[in-house]
């Protein structure tokens, strides 16, 4: 039994890590969180119901660990620029680009509850129902958090490019493609 559980757990670690990093904005803290979560999951493996989503179960443990422990310790770090092993990466097609580093800075500006909702729904492949259960809020609240997160990201990424502070090429090209609807 524990072999199968171990395999499931190991298979989920990369996703858990991506969720953790999105939540806390620090790769180092994310690894601490994943480690704590793995230990807790291991010692509580009898509580996991086979047939349910192990991803949702692990995310719940990680999230609870983060909110109950790490944040109280005042370890909230949003040193986004330095923490991700950021390669130069560009997202998008020919007419629209967002630099990965720029996107992460924008993501870190979202309120935590919006950021986690956005990541769970938009990247982790969880359902609204699963995300709602993980966050302990109604489904409608998750939906509205995701919507607000998207709107805020759109605003941040567009405005950054519009302001004349010498925008990077990446944000400038976002502005170009976004220009049509930021103008009105």
């Amino acid at each position: 039994m524990s072999d199968a559980f171990r395999d499931q757990l190991v298979a989920e670690l990369p996703n858990l890590r991506a969720f953790a990093a999105s939540l806390c904005g620090s790769m180092q803290l994310a690894d601490d969180l994943v480690q704590d979560t793995a230990v807790k999951a291991w010692s509580n493996q009898d509580k996991f119901q086979q047939g349910t989503s192990i991803r949702a179960w692990l995310f719940t443990i990680l999230r609870n660990t983060y909110f109950s422990l790490y944040r109280k310790r005042g370890r909230e770090v949003q040193d986004v620029e330095g923490v991700y092993s950021s390669k130069i990466a560009v997202i998008g097609g020919q007419e629209s680009h967002i630099d990965l580093a720029d996107f992460r800075i924008a993501l870190a500006q979202l309120p935590e509850e919006q950021r986690e909702a956005l990541v769970m729904i938009g990247a982790s492949g969880l359902s609204y129902e699963e995300a709602a259960e993980i966050s302990g809020v109604p489904v409608g609240t998750v939906k509205s958090r995701v919507n607000r997160a998207r709107a805020k990201l759109a605003a941040v990424l567009s405005i950054d490019g519009l302001e004349d502070f010498g925008p990077s090429k990446a944000t400038a090209s976002v502005t170009r493609s976004a220009g049509a609807f930021t103008a009105d």
């Binding site: 524990s2 171990r6 757990l9 190991v10 670690l13 990369p14 996703n15 890590r17 991506a18 990093a21 999105s22 790769m27 690894d31 994943v34 480690q35 793995a38 230990v39 291991w42 991700y84 092993s85 390669k87 990466a89 997202i91 998008g92 629209s96 967002i98 990965l100 996107f103 992460r104 993501l107 956005l118 990541v119 729904i121 938009g122 990247a123 982790s124 492949g125 409608g140 939906k143 509205s144 919507n147 607000r148 998207r150 709107a151 990201l153 759109a154 990424l157 567009s158 976002v174 493609s177 976004a178 049509a180 609807f181």
Partner: protein, 74 residues
């Protein structure tokens, strides 16, 4: 999943507007341009996948091996 992002940004024209329940009620700002919405969706996925595809730190794998060894030894 990413396709979800585009969906809520599309608006049906007029006819069904009074009967259609708003997905979230309080969000007037849900009507982003679909292109920007898709760009955000793709960026989010790229951010996430970048971490998913990165190698796991050895410490976590070592830890799991230790937990397993402890359990088998106990």
């Amino acid at each position: 999943m990413v396709s979800d992002f585009g969906k809520s940004a599309e608006r049906s024209d007029g006819a069904s507007s009074s009967t259609e329940p708003s997905p979230s009620g309080d969000d007037a700002e849900t009507c982003l341009d679909p292109r920007l919405d898709q760009l955000i969706g793709r960026s989010l996925q790229a951010h996430y996948d970048d971490i998913v595809s990165a190698p796991l730190p050895d410490t976590i794998l070592v830890l799991l091996a230790q937990l397993e060894a402890k359990e088998k030894g106990a």
